[in-house]
Amino acid sequence: MNNLDLLLLLAGLVLSLMVFSYLLGDTLLFGIAMYTLVGATAGFTVLVLVQKVIMPMVITPLTTFPKSSVWLELATLLAALLPIFMIFKKSSRVAGISLGFLGGVVTAALIVGVSRGTLVPQLLSIVDAFDPSRMTTAGLPNWSGIFEAFMMLAGVLAVLFAFHHRKTKQKQDSLAPSWLDGLTGFGQIFIGITFGAIFVGLFSTGLVALIAYVQYLVDFVRLW
């Protein structure tokens, strides 16, 4: 290990210890560590954007006109220039146009993606579970399959209705939504189960990071 590596190792160690100063209620050292992270990632991102996005996608094509239409190149250049107006004038309508264009694109992509990629497959999956072939095994009822299919349908509907919007309480007829309350409660059970699993997952991920970090410290001490 050369001196530079050692220096970097020490820097990493010190910065990570600064992070743990959070536990003691310190904000200064913690803040320094955080801003180091922000600054370094921002610096690296600038490099990547310039060298791997702007240069090849905007600048290089300008030098190779024959490969594509001149208009196309100019339009691309314009797309790149428009947001830059934000630097000079934050209320720039020109920059607003380009950002509006981006907003339109991502919104359209969202609509198409959500409907094709989540809604339809997930809904079809619920229905597919009722396929007779899945509900029988060798001519006998597949009870676990049947149970799962019905539970999935009932559970998903209950979760959906757990978010059913209701009128303001004062105006409600007290008798009306008792069935809805039941469904909401049923749905909340499943939401709670999912949230519990996610909570454990988050703790597991954090714990793995903690173990790795403690191991890193132990290794560092052993190094000396």
Binding site: T27, S91, V127, M135, L153, H165
Partner: protein, 253 residues
Amino acid sequence: MPPISLPDLIAAGIVGLVVIIMVLVWLTNRKTSAEPYENVTAYDGIEALMHRSSEEGKALLLGMGDGFSGQNTSLGDSNGILVERIVLGRSVFNDQPTRIFSGDGALACISQLVVHGAYKNAMASELFQPENNQLSGVNSFAWMAGLLPELARDGDTGLILSGTLRPEHMLAADLAERQQLPLVAATGSPNAQAAFFASGSLVTLGEDYYLPTVGKHNRNAYQHQAKTMNWLRIVLAVVLIIAALLKLSGVLS
């Protein structure tokens, strides 16, 4: 390119259905309802924070998450911008300006336009300070890293997180608690919802995130949207049950 398949047609049908219900609801509810739907609790919390901010003369922090342009994890989440518009519309004349932190470049730029627009609408452009609206990090972790030290400063009244969040961002909830700052987390990411639920902060659950109404602000839009969602849910439930029965009986292949 794949040919148009049955799922694609169903997807188009769902989009069409949503549009039809939306239009129908809009046509039948053009007047403000005397019996409004209950507000989402978390968004009510945002209203309380806004008032608290103006009463205490302290700054409100608004974290916008990192999902908009797709540079990070998520694509097309513009709900945070709506929340920002609502909050900014009411807080331009607060003693301390609302400070906004975005985790996505395009989001930061749009946010800048929104903030400036809010000040301009209030005819107070000179009060606009660009440094109160900034990118706080280029990815989700860096965004949180940039937000945490700001949260640790004195003189803040509360934190609103609205946008695409990740479960790790619940660290912000912990720091907010340490700083005695109330926190409202509005996010459409179920993972983050679970983490913030565990942290005990006010959080939007499930689809509630997509119904931003803060007090009376945006109430009409919210009413329409809530009603549309209710109808969509009912239609979907009926369709699902019928489809399941048809599948079970072998009618649907």
